[in-house]
Symmetry: C2
Subunit: 299 residues, 2 copies
Amino acid sequence: MNLSQIELLRVLQETNLNLSKAAEKMHIVQSAVSRQLQLFEAELGSPLFERQGKKLVGMTSLGLSIMDEVATINRAKANIQHIASDFLDSNKGTLHIATTHTQAKYFLPKPIARFREKYPGVNIYMVQASPEQLIDQLHNRKADVAICTERVDLVPDLILETCYRWYHSIVVPHEHPLAEGLITLERISQYPILTYSFGYTGRSNIENAFNQANLELDIILAASDTDVIKTYVRLGLGVGLIAGMAYDPIVDKDLVARDLSHLISSSSTKIAYLKHNYLPQYSKHFIEELLIAGKENSY
Amino acid sequence: MNLSQIELLRVLQETNLNLSKAAEKMHIVQSAVSRQLQLFEAELGSPLFERQGKKLVGMTSLGLSIMDEVATINRAKANIQHIASDFLDSNKGTLHIATTHTQAKYFLPKPIARFREKYPGVNIYMVQASPEQLIDQLHNRKADVAICTERVDLVPDLILETCYRWYHSIVVPHEHPLAEGLITLERISQYPILTYSFGYTGRSNIENAFNQANLELDIILAASDTDVIKTYVRLGLGVGLIAGMAYDPIVDKDLVARDLSHLISSSSTKIAYLKHNYLPQYSKHFIEELLIAGKENSY
DNA sequence: TAAGGTTACGGCGATCGTAACGATC
DNA sequence: GATCGTTACGATCGCCGTAACCTTA
């Protein structure tokens, strides 16, 4: 058994059990891959893959039952390499952050600024993506840390930390009826709504609140991006239902924000990163900064 | 990086960083080990070991920080091998049980008999040892499962399952004053005591009970073995303070057992096995049998 | 000087690449 | 015949063992 054989198993999974593709990925010729697989199976004493003729069409139960261990070894190997390269120059490196537009624009600026002060040598790459993509980014190791609100529960091999809690608000032009008076779900539901796309920024909490009150929402625009929503609110298309922190009293002074904390339950923005994955010191520090910034926030 | 280099790191730890001993353990010459270590350090870019002259005297912080991953890889590798050899003939194999005398004699016979009925092809090796040794047996992979009462809490990388709870009893000859009347700690403390050695079979619970009552015990004999205790009780040396389940109404009919459940808090016998360690199907079944037998017991 | 570690060098074996072949769609 | 996998064979590179050498208790 050797590490390239272990790696081969991983690559084979990624290539739908195609030996030729796997060989390409591993920068060796296909025949070498074929032999290595045979050698490994011979060493273990029984096949790891089901074959139809010569084609690999699936894994044997033995193959399946060792894949956990295979993944563990590959993870640990990558971790060793990261730890070592990290050690060489501990304050240089790259931090990959995956997040959604709302977080990137309204929450991250402060913690990122603080982080850059402390680690000026670390390059920051920010990837914007949908909540589901965020998790893929982590799994593909394209991101070290993800920050988002929805769809991150119940994913195993992720570590989740609640960063901060916040409430939704509505935003309307000053002359809109909802700019005045007591806000209720009933009143809101009488107007066309502009809010986040499904799966974004606490959208599910919005759904739940109105569903429970047996009210239907007339969502005429769904965007993944608060700025788009605000733009169309300004045009008078309807009521913007956005994250409270996305209202800026200065920039948005032509709009009125009304807090909905009594109507829609709080959403929590979370920090997610891979379990069993080595994070360099500066990444851990960044997470610290996020948590601190989260505590300072009170939207 | 390759698996033997990873293994080398483990072996070096076990040999107090002695390259020659490590080479011996790995069945290669010392110069090969020296070179492999250099190659690995070169690959990672910085040394893993502190050196005084040429001698290895400790690990660098890099070395220390990768040892977790190293251990993980070694574990996973061993697991793969176990899973595979297990797969070859799933109902043959060997089950190594580490336990103390009391468990071996009074608790294990029934679950082991049941286990043998279901897996007649599995050889059972039982190692008797002190509670501390039990844990070493697990870590050294000399045992798959350990069953014992004391000293197993707070050890990381062990999985613990409570098997059953039991109480202490005293045993005395029929003519002894304690054979009659209400049993109290005060009464017991007036006689010479024969009980378990320190660290064995709930001994710490005994200590605690008498300490809290501000009573001193005159322990004139401490054995790791209930039979020794009973033998000397028969000779009239004093009061035997033993695990309740170690009194056999038939074999020990010349002795009287008095329950102490109202005086000494219950002890719990636990099943311990290594986290992250592959156990074959039959071993898991054995643990099931232990839990079942534990539930049936009511000492 | 014994014990532990490094360096130099030759040889062997593991693994790769080339290439021809076999199977399956 | 295109794709995918296996087998054969020669070449290469990695790794081991021998052996001489260095260093420190």
